[in-house]
């Protein structure tokens, strides 16, 4: 099985430096593409590859690029931005990619920026990822020294500068328009859409924001073609994906696997199954903003459409496992604490609704629940639905609560009636 994204990673070894990456065939796509292939053709190949946004949206990357106004229609500055603000609870795939093979990301940025004809790129990295920040800064400097960045890259006439920006530590910066505000030095609150960043983004200029993993796929798609990439996936899905599992499994971690593999295989084979003495109860398929998949349903495919078909989201593809010895209400309350704290404070229902949700869940968990609390929580999942709040943060927060209220109704009721948590 091919593992293009992690092919250069060896357990216990430092990532490849510039020379090593070059020896491993890296930057070949840059050499073959810049000035030789029309930018529009690069975007077309990416569209044909079926690559979808790996930050959690799954929107076709090539189509996003193609929706950007042409250079003729919008002369002037345009930007390519890598969203490396990985703060989704339970998610550590971008960290692996940046720490494991930083030049792969740089190469992806060069090709992506070329495709959208941007001469400036930013990598917005979560501030706590200091190892990744240092590695990326070194990778940029080394690539620049080798003529792979800067003016007239490899004589192609193409310019690109990459800036590695360390975020200041807010979850909302992972929302692409909040990221743009933060990058501009403003408060990290989302912007109203439309207009989309591709027409009015960083400092009002056309801007594309892509996730780290998405960008890391680009060199391989360019090198090997769309058909090769599509064939990597399983059951009609395209490419590989970094999946992950955390929780009480035998081998928690991240794994590069074909897109579309069943969740059961991910948990039972690659993560080694549950630790002895623990039973799988449910899992969040892709971070804290996705809903529960109950044990009975874990044959579902790990893919954007399959998860959407069951009313859930694949999210980041890094699953969090709920075992039978952890209180689901405590589990959900903990998630809601995170979201209430990370609400940017811009829109009222999220800012003031999430703390209410958190306090209610904590009261239930502490044995102070009241019979009407479940109606209230249920109402909240409705009030914090997509389109009602300003951005996707609160709807994401409601995914675990909404599915939790459906699947663990009896646990909620027992907490309220017995006025205690049976796990404590």
């Amino acid at each position: 099985m091919e593992r293009p994204l992690t092919r250069n990673m060896r357990k216990g070894e430092a990532p490849l430096d510039f020379a090593g990456y070059l020896r491993a065939g890296g930057y070949a796509a840059v050499r073959d593409t810049l000035g030789r292939v029309a930018p529009a053709d690069v975007a077309r190949v990416v569209t044909e590859s079926g690559l979808g946004g790996c930050g959690g949206g799954g929107f076709p990357t090539g189509r996003k690029w193609q929706a950007m106004p042409s250079r003729a229609a919008r002369p002037g500055k345009r930007y390519f931005i890598v969203n490396a603000d990985e703060m989704e609870p339970g998610t550590f795939k971008d960290r692996l990619l940046m720490e494991g093979d930083p030049h792969q990301l740089i190469e992806g940025v060069i090709l992506s920026a070329y495709a959208i004809e941007a001469d400036t790129a930013y990598i917005f990295v979560r501030g706590e990822y200091s190892a990744a920040i240092n590695l990326l800064r070194k990778a940029v400097a080394d690539a620049q020294a080798a003529g792979m960045l800067g003016e007239n890259i490899l004589g192609s006439g193409v310019d690109l500068s990459i800036h590695v920006h360390a975020g200041a530590g807010r979850y909302i910066c992972g929302e692409e328009t909040a990221l743009l505000n933060s990058l501009e030095g403003r408060r990290a609150v989302p912007r109203a859409k439309p207009p989309l960043p591709m027409t009015s983004g960083l400092w009002g200029c056309p801007t594309i924001v892509n996730n780290v993993e998405t960008v890391c796929n680009i060199p391989h798609i360019i090198c090997h073609g769309a058909a090769w990439y599509r064939a990597l996936g399983r059951d009609g899905e395209a490419g590989t994906k970094i999946f992950g599992v955390s929780g009480r499994v035998k081998r928690p971690g991240a794994f590069e696997l074909p897109m579309g593999m069943p969740m059961r295989e991910l948990i039972e084979e690659h993560a080694g199954g549950m630790k002895d003495g623990f039973l799988l109860r449910a899992a969040l398929p892709g971070g804290a903003s996705t809903g529960f998949v109950m044990e009975a349903h874990i044959d579902v495919k790990m893919s954007f459409p399959a998860m959407a078909a069951m009313g859930n989201r694949l999210g980041t593809g890094t699953a969090i496992v709920l075992d039978d010895q952890t209180c689901p209400i405590g589990f959900i309350a903990n998630l809601q604490h995170f979201f209430a704290q990370e609400s940017c404070g811009w829109c009222a229902p999220c800012r003031d609704g999430l703390p209410w949700v958190e306090q209610t869940l904590k009261a239930i968990e502490a044995g102070h629940g009241e019979p009407n609390d479940l109606d209230l929580l249920s109402e909240m999942t409705n009030n914090l639905a997509p389109g009602r709040t300003f951005c996707a943060l609160a709807p994401g927060a409601m995914a675990s609560l909404q599915t939790g209220l459906a699947f663990f109704r009896d646990e909620f009721e027992r907490h309220i009636h017995s006025r205690r948590c049976s796990w404590q």
């Binding site: 109203a192 009002g204 829109c347 009222a348 229902p349 209410w356 009602r388 709040t389």
Partner: protein, 769 residues
């Protein structure tokens, strides 16, 4: 052209190019909102204005925020829909989880937008049982009281303070429900427009501090439409009082003038009304508390003298200046200005008669600005705020190209990053608008102004003047703002005339210092002689302040404040301030505006024109019975000054009530002295009555109030006010260029803080920081 939309099954005509919220409100429909403000645009933060929008006829509809939804012909929406209504109620319920239940002790209770919106959504019962978040308040200085626990996070304050008014020392801190609006540390707010926080806040986070000290409920105060007397912009205000005591002033919306905002000088300068420096009683030498009869006798005795000199004032009303002039004769009527001020005013009037003038809102709509000389923030603060809006307005063509509506505030600002209309400033000292200007030249402006007008006319020139001319010529509505001596005003006027000859609809703003500078300028007053041995009557004017060394042997001064001039007077006569009587000011746009008696105390001094008239009759200077009514007096002014003739006193069919419909305590407030029903004060001849009774024909609206809308936001529910009268509406056709005086101009006196507001305790406290 209005388009039709369907709202809850009814066809409603609305304006295109607006958002759905504004359209629904304008159509008289009730939709709750917090973060939206007509002047600040839409940002979609509060999620309160949810309505259901349908796509096509088969669609089940989806919830949208009305403020973020463009109006389009034929769209179908419902406000009443149960799902939308439930969501609106849920949003209010959520914000109230952190809002204290302190309405009974909150200054905003009863005129609170949050209360109104809560009622509108139908939310009544608290379900939240957890602790509310709390904040520490800050000391924001003598103007604004801070009560952060009340904050509902609508972001209007920062959007006004930073984005609109260009302030830097106030902002948003923290995140999530701990989001905090204040300063980095305790300290007085630095913006000259901080007082507007009181009115943009939908609840009681920012409270008018001087008002808080003499607080009464909105419904328990008399409200009177008036004109701010603190500069020549003449912003429309509402003065509120109770029990003869001034309480506060709030903005009174005027679409083409101040809109929604006042400056701090206007709002907090009104404290002068309660200052210890007020001249409350009349005196002759050491004899104080003269009776009205004694005042008239003494003044009549002076007026009988041959060749008595009258000195008018740019802060006295049209009426008072006119009556004094009529009593002493035009040849003996002097402006009471320093040589510099007199030369400036004479030049200004000449220019205003010949050149199309910009209103404040014209200036706000300008697409190119040349600012010459004085800093508008100092001379005409509200105009400066308007100019800032013009300077930072995203270019319309750019927004159209990107498909971004102008009301979409965040997107419009972002799209226009780094793109501004050309603003060019030539001033010897820094101005408040330097940061939004494309070009700032620190030099005397006269020479450049002359060169610009030549370049506009086609003269070859390299350098800045040519660049200025190019920017002005490429504008559709350029505005030239000039503040300075005659040479500058004439040169600025010539720029506008040259642009007009090229078919560019340019307009001019002439910066003048005082509330009725223009009115005085229309009086054809003489300049002051160096000295005189004739008796002198000084009207509401502190000559010493203007650096006028003028010490007549006999001097009578009529004023409502104590000044070095009243102290030097043989006879100091107490007359009413702008809040104690009716009168008329003409502002620097040439706009004629009435003010009305707003405060009804026990021994209110009469207006100066009435004292002068009665003494003049007693002295035999004018026939008995002359100017018997205010309307008659204005007729006489119109006959003497033809430009004024089109203005008539706004008499309605009956008098409008000035006490709100819920005014309470009328019979109880003085019960410790007298339990009988007090007789209402009589204020005939005014369009405004003195009681709760009466009926206004619609010309004057003392109160901003609509059913269910108790806060100032009720303005969105009210019909538009009638148009104002302008003195200089028809500029002379084909006016020739003004010759630029070459002789040296009078030296400019030092600029002092505005005279009346300087007496306000809050302003004094602010200046001492």
């Amino acid at each position: 052209m209005a388009v039709n939309i369907v709202v809850d099954g009814q066809v409603v005509p609305v304006q295109p190019d607006t958002n759905l919220l504004e359209a629904l409100l304008t159509a008289g429909l009730d939709v709750p909102y917090f973060c939206w403000h007509k002047a600040l645009g839409s940002v979609g933060a509060c999620r309160q204005c949810a309505v259901k929008l349908y796509k096509g006829t088969e669609d089940n509809g989806h919830i949208v925020m009305a403020c973020m939804t463009p109006v389009a012909a034929g769209i179908r929406v419902t406000i009443a829909d149960g799902e939308a209504a439930a969501f609106r109620e849920a949003v209010v319920e959520a914000v109230l989880t952190n809002h204290p239940h302190d309405c009974p002790v909150c200054e905003v209770g009863g005129e609170c937008h949050l209360q109104d919106m809560t009622t509108l959504t139908g939310h009544t019962t608290r379900r939240d049982r957890f602790a509310k978040r709390t904040h520490l308040n800050q000391d924001l200085g003598p103007f604004i009281k801070h009560e952060m626990n009340r904050c509902i996070g609508c972001y209007r304050c920062v959007r006004f303070y930073r984005d609109y008014a260009g302030g830097h020392d106030f902002g948003t801190f923290g995140a999530n429900r701990n989001v905090y609006f204040g300063r980095a540390e305790n300290g007085a707010l630095e913006s000259e427009f901080a007082g507007n926080l009181v009115e943009v806040c939908p609840t009681g986070v920012f409270v008018d501090k001087p008002f808080s000290a003499v607080f009464r409920r909105k419904w328990d105060m008399r409200a009177t439409p008036s004109i701010c007397p603190h500069c020549a912009v003449g912003c429309n205000v509402t003065v509120q009082e109770r029990g003869g005591k001034f309480r506060r002033v709030v903005n009174r919306y005027n679409e083409t003038l101040n809109g929604y905002f006042l400056c701090d000088r206007g709002r907090f300068g009104m404290g002068f009304l309660e200052s210890g420096q007020r001249l409350r009683t009349s005196r002759r030498g050491g004899r104080k508390n003269l009776t009205h009869g004694e005042v008239l006798d003494a003044l009549a005795a002076v007026l009988r003298a041959d060749g008595v000199i009258g000195i008018g004032s740019p802060r006295a009303s049209m009426e008072s200046n006119f009556v004094l002039r009529e009593l002493v004769g035009a040849e003996n009527f002097h402006a009471g200005l320093s040589d510099y001020e007199a030369a400036q005013l004479e030049a200004a009037i000449a220019v205003m008669k010949a050149v199309p003038l910009a209103t404040v809102q014209d200036a706000q709509a300008a697409d190119a600005i040349v600012l010459l000389g004085d800093d508008p923030l100092v001379v005409a603060p509200r105009l400066a705020l308007a100019l800032r809006q013009a300077a930072q307005r995203p270019p319309a063509a750019l927004l159209a190209a990107r498909g971004i509506p102008a009301w979409h505030d965040g997107a419009a600002r972002n799209a226009a990053t780094g793109q501004r209309i050309p603003v060019m400033i030539v001033s010897e000292t820094p101005t408040w608008l330097d940061d939004v200007a494309a070009v700032v030249l620190r030099e005397p402006p006269e020479e450049l102004a002359v060169a610009v007008s030549a370049c506009v006319a086609g003269a070859a020139h390299d350098g800045q003047a040519a660049a200025f001319a190019r920017d002005l010529l490429s504008g559709e509505r350029p505005v030239v703002v000039a503040g300075g001596g005659p040479a500058l005003l004439f040169a600025a006027a010539n720029i506008v005339l040259a642009l007009r000859r090229k078919g560019v609809a340019a307009r001019l703003v002439v910066l003048l210092p005082e509330a009725n500078s223009v009115g005085l300028g229309m009086m054809d007053a003489r300049r002051l002689p160096a000295m005189t041995d004739r008796p002198v009557v000084v009207l509401e004017n502190d000559l010493s302040r203007r650096g006028i060394a003028f010490a007549p042997a006999r001097m009578v001064v009529l004023d409502h404040i104590e000044t070095p001039t009243t102290e030097a007077a043989e006879l100091a006569l107490a007359i009413g301030s702008f809040a104690d009587c009716d009168g008329t000011f003409v502002n620097m746009e040439g706009r004629v505006q009435p003010f009305h008696k707003a405060i009804f105390g026990a021994d209110d001094p009469p207006p100066s024109w009435m004292v002068l008239r009665d003494a003049g009759i007693a002295a035999g200077r004018v026939p008995a019975g002359i100017w018997a009514t205010h309307a008659e007096l204005l007729d006489a002014v119109g006959k003497a000054i033809p430009a004024f003739a089109k203005y008539t006193w706004p008499l309605t069919h009956g008098q409008a009530p000035t006490l709100p419909h819920r005014f309470s305590g009328r019979t109880a407030m003085d019960a410790r002295f007298d339990v009988r029903e007090p007789a209402p004060p009589v204020h005939a001849e005014s369009p405004l009555g003195t009681t709760m009774e009466g009926w206004a024909a619609g010309e004057v609206a003392p109160l901003v109030w609509a059913p269910g809308w108790n806060s100032g936001q009720a303005i969105n529910k009210l019909p538009r006010a009638p148009a104002d009268v302008f003195l200089f509406e028809t500029p002379l056709q084909d006016a020739p260029n003004f010759p630029i005086p070459l002789q040296p101009q009078p030296p400019r006196p030092a600029v002092l803080p505005e005279e009346l507001s300087a007496l306000s305790p809050a302003m004094i406290a602010r200046r001492q920081i």
